[in-house]
Amino acid sequence: SPVPQNKWKKRHLSWRVRTFPKDSALLGRDTVRALMYYALKVWSDIAPLNFHEVAGSDADIQIDFTKADHNDGYPFDGPGGTVAHAFFPGERFTAGDTHFDDDEAWTFRSPDSHGMDLFAVAVHEFGHAIGLVHTSAIESIMRPYYQGPVGDPLKYDLPYEDKVRVWQLYGVRDSVSHTHQPGNPSQTAEPPVLLDLPENRSTVLLARDAPDRCTSHFDAVAQIRGEAFFFKGKYFWRLTREKHLVSLRPAQIHRFWRGLPNNLDSVDAVYERPGDHKIVFFKGLKYWVFKDNIVEEGYPRPISDFGLPSEGVDAAFVWLHNDKTYFFKDNHYWRYDDHLRRMDLGYPKDSTLWKGLPPQLDDAMRWSDGSSYFFKGKEYWRVPGSDMEVEAGYPRLIAKDWLLCTEMQSDSPDTEPKSTETRVNVHHHPDHAENGYEVCSCTS
């Protein structure tokens, strides 16, 4: 007896997150919306469906975080048990509506033990919302049981089983090869890097709060892959190995370092870990580990993992001399062995042992000349080689020596390069401009 197929007659479907998780310390509203966006996109990438977010109450797919009995015949049952459901397409006014149990610990990019991966569950539920029923196929996202996180939402690819079933309902989206099966090399290029949600773009383009590199005190400075990164607020500047500023305009931290919380407004310290070359970001009592520019699962974690005090860190850098990681906080410093993943005995010590350095540093980094550089306010200090004493002639101005500013110069984010920047030639490459972003390179 064939099961009647429930499917949408229209192909353009609106969606809206009507209610958000009550305890959204880890999952902010923007993150929840972004996860819904990507979970829907999983389906619209392969089938001729188009989802768009709306603000009103007439969305085809209303998304709610609710708990217990919420008057739809599918009461939730607290943590565990049933975690979500969605209504199949049809004539009911609730068709497509998707409900998540607000009693679950919803997570994103966290280990399985920390809770329920919202993206994984959302992909499953939106499968129902467009008409798919449960299946027993092991490889399917439509298995009824929660199977843990499914990885990066930007890279998630539906199992072939699910693709076939959604193609049976809606057909194949143009540009999608329905003959591509697991094991066959892909006939299409890698999916493009996904844009952020449309509503985030305006903040990128305006960048009214972008700081001035020539007058800023920096939150963090790090040598990463041989290049220098200067972090300030939500932005950073990048210098090549030859100390050439990649752009006069700062880049947004969140657009490059993927996975930091959206509400993170600055970082305290950053360093590239010796050994595995992963990049560690510190903010307050938490830290994140990045593999390249993607955050690892399971972060943030407390800095107590390092044996650091509960006040956070001012500075972190790896001393070339011994490949050990040094943390500074106020008037103290610690030495950490990243290879053994433990703090060396006998620390903290008084930071005055580093002669000539000020207390309460902004950050520090090593550089390819073999020296260590320490930054505070508008100034920096150089400590050559294995010395523990600042070289004569320091401090010097960060802006002048690192960020290609002349003295007395200031540039606002909207200011075009001025004639005072005689050391910088700015070449615009309009052919590289995408989505309204200006792309340029600087040589000195």
Binding site: S1, P4, V83, E125, H128, P144, Y146
Partner: protein
């Protein structure tokens, strides 16, 4: 026979009804589930869940029943009705 507590059995019956493996109990007649229907339902659930089809509420089966999951039934009302009609 493996020992099953009454609570486990009740939980199992509720679970099987909730997710479409057993017809929901009739509130008017107080319809009871037959042992045969229960065994078949357990086997169907085990097959769907990728477990060995024993027809018994063993630990693996009870464990799967406690696994977090989607609220929607595995066997739709239409499928269940069609199967019953066929029988």
């Amino acid at each position: 026979a493996p020992s099953q507590s009454t609570e486990q059995l009740d939980m199992g019956v509720d679970w099987l009804s909730k997710f479409g493996y057993l017809p929901p109990p009739d509130p008017v007649t107080g319809q009871l589930q037959t042992k045969e229907a229960l065994t078949k339902a357990i086997k169907a659930m085990q097959k769907f869940g990728g477990l060995k089809e024993t027809g018994v509420l063993d630990q693996a089966t009870l464990g799967l029943m406690k696994t977090p999951r989607c609220s929607l039934p595995d066997v739709s009302e239409v499928e269940a009705t069609a199967a019953r009609r066929k029988r």
